[in-house]
Symmetry: C2
Subunit: 187 residues, 2 copies
């Protein structure tokens, strides 16, 4: 709980009142390794926050699984298009380790945002950060070599190699498993 509060306050300094309003809206789950938080074709109802553990967002592409995002401790994650457009997701979300996860439902969040200017601002700032992140990732995919992307990843998340199978990391980086293996052995 504490890490969720910190994460929220870091995004926007909510008053105590607003904080007390939004906190009860979060639900909590302890899920096992491999548990699916979201299945393909479902409408994604939650923005998640992972307290401890790891999860991946992935989809099927011509028979293969493509990992689109990997979330480690203390990160928010969601299926953006499905959550905001209220359409069935082509993505699935799966725990890669036993995980402690919180989530806020779309209905609740929208009601809170409509009722409290502060929470609307919080949401706006979350979206701003997310958009900036998305832009950076796009830049990175388009203009950095896979080598560089890999280096960046392990600089930012050194533990990721030990916690997440290379197949997932490879497709997250937009390369094949074999290419990643060669990049790694060349260092």
């Amino acid at each position: 709980m504490e890490s969720l509060v910190n994460a929220l306050l870091r995004i926007h300094p909510l008053t105590d009142k607003a904080l007390q309003t939004i906190l009860p809206a979060w639900q909590h789950w302890e899920v096992q390794k491999d548990h699916l938080l979201l299945r393909e074709h479902q409408v994604s109802d939650y923005i998640y926050f992972i307290h401890t553990g790891a999860a991946r967002i992935f989809y099927q592409k011509s028979g293969k699984e493509i990992t689109e995002w990997i979330a480690l401790d203390k990160q928010f994650f969601l299926s953006i298009t499905s959550f905001f457009e209220r359409t069935p997701s082509h993505l699935s979300i799966q725990a890669l380790e036993p995980a402690s996860v919180s989530g806020i439902h779309h209905n609740d969040l929208m009601k809170l945002a409509a009722g409290h200017h502060e929470i609307e601002t919080l949401l706006r700032k979350m979206l701003t950060l997310s958009l900036i992140l998305s832009q950076r990732r796009m830049d990175s995919i388009q203009f950095e070599t896979s080598q560089q992307r890999y280096e960046k990843l392990i600089t930012e998340y050194p533990e990721i190699i030990k916690r997440v199978p290379l197949t997932y990391i490879a497709s997250f980086l937009g390369i094949t498993l074999e290419t990643l293996s060669r990049i790694r052995s060349a260092r």
Copy 2:
């Protein structure tokens, strides 16, 4: 003006009062072909809306210009990171045709959003749309062939070929001019 109002209302149905509050904050410019709306290293102060004309967002990458975005009539465009983080932009924005452009200043928009819940919501929805777009583009860059990306582009904007030089289109698609030329001649 009318197209800007329509564009805003399509994003979020503002009350008349909110509309009358936000409209005066927009400035208007008629700019010539090649005019720079934003120069590299400047902090980007405006979200722009292009009534008529065309513009591109680009940056220098090892001596070459990379076009990151192309905006045709009735689209919003901005240097996302610079505008929201208030940091000097690595991007430039240039009119590709004589253009009629509106813009709202960061200071004004933030004051309005803080003062009016409705405008905060409008901004939040703009960011949501922008994030969805950014995700789609990322997907497209990472998992579609350049062939497919080109097809999509001309399906959505058939006129773009006649209005924008192929060099810009090529780098927008993330390929070289030569590769684009070959894709085009193969059809």
